[in-house]
């Protein structure tokens, strides 16, 4: 194959020398007209960074001539600083996308070769290919570890976070190339902006995660959170608000914000925030009343089977009680509570949950508590008087009985 191509190139070269230059450059790689690989090697094999005649051997581009990519070189000797290799004739879309990306916008930004290498570019399934997640982490990480991270500092911590995440673990340690690596979320040639500042961007994040997590996305699309995003409420959460981004872990992963123990805090980021909840007309005492409940205490003390927020409210498909499809709609409470209390009867469907003991909440209980506080106060006062009276009598030398 190679020798056949070389022979063809030689014939064409001979033709080109005889005939006036042909109008070149179509979408297909131009057949070599200029110097041969051997001609190039004549100088470049002895250069500071030597390039041998067989530089492309074994690469995906094996068989192409030097001038197929270094297409501005038509003749020898060439200009002192010829242009960089041009990938666009074959990879037009990739180059167009790249040109529109932040990588192309800044001088010194990543070019084709920064990521893909130059002469030894390998095919998709091979180890060195950018289609491999492991390679992406190495290549993107090499630059971005030095660059500022999205929230200050260098990107190094962000890359480390990814490496330790459930996604990073799958890609780097378990050899699961389908698991997401850099380009899966951030895009490759056309970098994807993953902002969270507005509701539309948050919807995009959900859609992106949904390309793999279809079932979770389907539930989320039916949820109150997604409905709020659709209405343009940037305060409503998308996937990453609960799961994190680079740090993402499964429910059992270390430090996971969706681990049973962490769920109340994760939901509480918004649901315990008074001003945030006021925007939605929602109560902000739900986390406090939970952590003070039997479920909340049991969970905190390590009973991971104890109900957390998601046990009753669902996770992705959370809906308000007024929605008939909601797990906490009175009609569904028997079933929802029944997940843990198998014989839960109708008693559960009449129940008001998250009732604070206060004049606004459980008023009767509040009244009883106030009574008790008063009575216990009197008991303590009586006890103190009892002690003081005895000590006083002793000091005065009076006979002390009980």
């Amino acid at each position: 194959m190679t020798s056949h191509r070389s022979a063809l190139a030689a014939v064409l070269l001979a033709g080109a020398l005889a005939v006036a230059p042909v109008a070149a450059s179509s979408a297909a790689p131009a057949k070599a007209k200029g110097p041969t690989a051997a001609d190039c090697a004549g100088c470049h094999e002895s250069a500071d960074k030597p390039v041998k005649a067989d530089a492309l051997k074994g690469s995906v581009h094996e068989g192409l001539a030097c001038t197929d990519c270094h297409s501005d070189i038509k003749d020898l000797p060439h200009a002192d600083k010829p242009a960089k290799a041009d990938c666009s004739p074959c990879h037009a879309q990739a180059v167009t996308d790249w040109k529109a990306s932040p990588h192309a916008a800044k001088p010194g930004g990543a070019t084709c070769a920064s990521c893909h290498g130059s002469h030894q570019i390998t095919a998709g399934a091979n180890e060195g290919s950018m289609r491999r997640g492991i390679r992406q982490v190495q290549v993107c990480g090499a630059c971005h570890a030095k660059h500022p991270g999205p929230h200050g500092g260098t990107g190094e911590a962000w890359i480390m976070n990814y490496r330790n995440s459930v996604h990073g673990d799958a890609v780097l340690n378990k050899g699961m190339n389908v698991a997401p690596s850099c380009a899966t979320c951030h895009g490759a040639h056309a970098l994807r902006a993953l902002g969270k500042a507005d509701a539309a961007s948050k919807v995009k994040i959900a859609e992106l995660c949904g390309t793999c997590h279809a079932q979770a996305f389907a539930s989320f699309r039916a949820s109150a959170h997604y409905a709020a995003l659709q209405k343009g409420s940037a305060g409503a959460p998308s996937c990453t608000d609960c799961h994190g981004e680079h740090t993402i872990q499964g429910p059992q992963g270390p430090g996971s914000p969706v681990a049973p123990l962490a769920v109340p805090q994760t939901c509480g980021k918004c649901h315990a925030d008074k001003s945030a909840m006021e925007n939605f007309g929602l109560p902000s005492d739900r986390v406090a009343t939970y952590t003070d409940s039997y479920h909340g205490i049991a969970l905190k003390e390590g009973d991971l089977k104890a109900a957390n927020c998601a046990s009753c409210h669902e996770n992705h498909g959370v809906l308000p009680a007024s929605d008939p499809a909601s797990s906490i709609n009175p009609a569904n409470l028997e079933k929802t509570c029944g997940k843990c209390h198998p014989k839960a009867g109708k008693g559960f469907s009449q129940v008001k949950f998250h009732q604070a003991v206060s004049p606004q909440g459980a008023r009767g209980a509040w009244f009883v508590r106030v009574f008790y506080i008063g009575f216990i106060g009197i008991l303590i006062l009586g006890f103190v008087l009892h002690i003081l009276a005895e000590m006083f009598a002793r000091a005065k030398g009076r006979k002390v009985v009980r």
């Binding site: 003390e301 009449q350 008001k352 949950f353 209980a365 216990i376 009892h386 009276a389 006083f392 009985v401």
Partner: protein, 230 residues
């Protein structure tokens, strides 16, 4: 059996009473520690207690075992005071009377001013009666609210959730009332007050030093000397 060589002793508690007192004490300690750990769950010491009991499940076992013990003691106590003659006598002695209120007040006045006379107490001092009946009432309320809380499944079938919440408040508040009476006031009285320091040994030996018995239950003492029971 004498203490300090020369001082004689008087029987204060029978063997059966001491046994019941011991079971009651163990039950209350189990209940108070495991219960307060729940009521004050946000405190570090509460977490330490729960860990010590083997986590949340272990805490439940301790609390419910204590509850069963307390209920058994309570039932025994109620039956015994109705069938046994000696218990009946004690029960009658524990009935609060207007005189107790007067005696309590008189004691306080005498201690503070030295006027009048120190009242003479019977088998139970007014303070003991006060504490006994508060704890009796406390046990009833703790038991009833505890039964409701034991199984939300059953109690929510029978009562509205607001009643369940009410019982939760009663249970935890009543527990703190019992804590003040038993672990603070009662322990002060039997270990420190009235010359009992370091301890009134009646709960172990069943007997009290004569001089202390006389000082603390002078009315009963005088009746005993005359050969009649109060």
């Amino acid at each position: 059996m004498t203490e300090k060589g020369t001082v004689g002793t008087v029987e204060r508690m029978t063997r059966a009473q001491r046994l019941v007192h011991l079971v009651l004490m163990v039950a209350i300690l189990m209940l108070v520690f495991s219960g307060l750990a729940l009521a004050y769950h946000e405190q570090g010491w509460a977490h330490a207690i729960i860990s010590l009991m083997g986590g949340f499940g272990g805490r439940n076992v301790v609390h419910r075992t204590g509850a069963v013990l307390l209920v058994l003691v309570f039932i025994y106590h109620v039956i015994a005071t109705n069938v046994s003659a000696s218990h009946q006598r004690n029960a009658l002695a524990s009935v609060p009377k207007p005189a107790d209120l007067k005696a309590g007040w008189a004691t306080f006045l005498w201690r503070m001013t030295g006027r009048g006379e120190a009242p003479k107490y019977g088998h139970y001092t007014p303070m003991q009666k006060f504490q006994y009946w508060l704890i009796f009432l406390g046990c009833l309320l703790m038991g009833l609210s505890g039964v409701v809380l034991w199984s939300p499944k059953i109690s929510l079938e029978l009562f509205p959730k607001s009643f369940f919440d009410l019982m939760l408040v009663v249970h935890s508040s009543q527990a703190q009332w019992a804590f003040i009476i038993l672990l603070v006031w009662h322990l002060w009285d039997v270990h420190v007050a009235g010359g009992n320091f370091p301890m009134n040994p009646a709960w172990i030996t069943g007997r009290m030093r004569e001089d202390l018995y006389r000082a603390q239950h002078e009315g009963e003492w005088e009746a005993m000397q005359k050969g009649t029971k109060e």
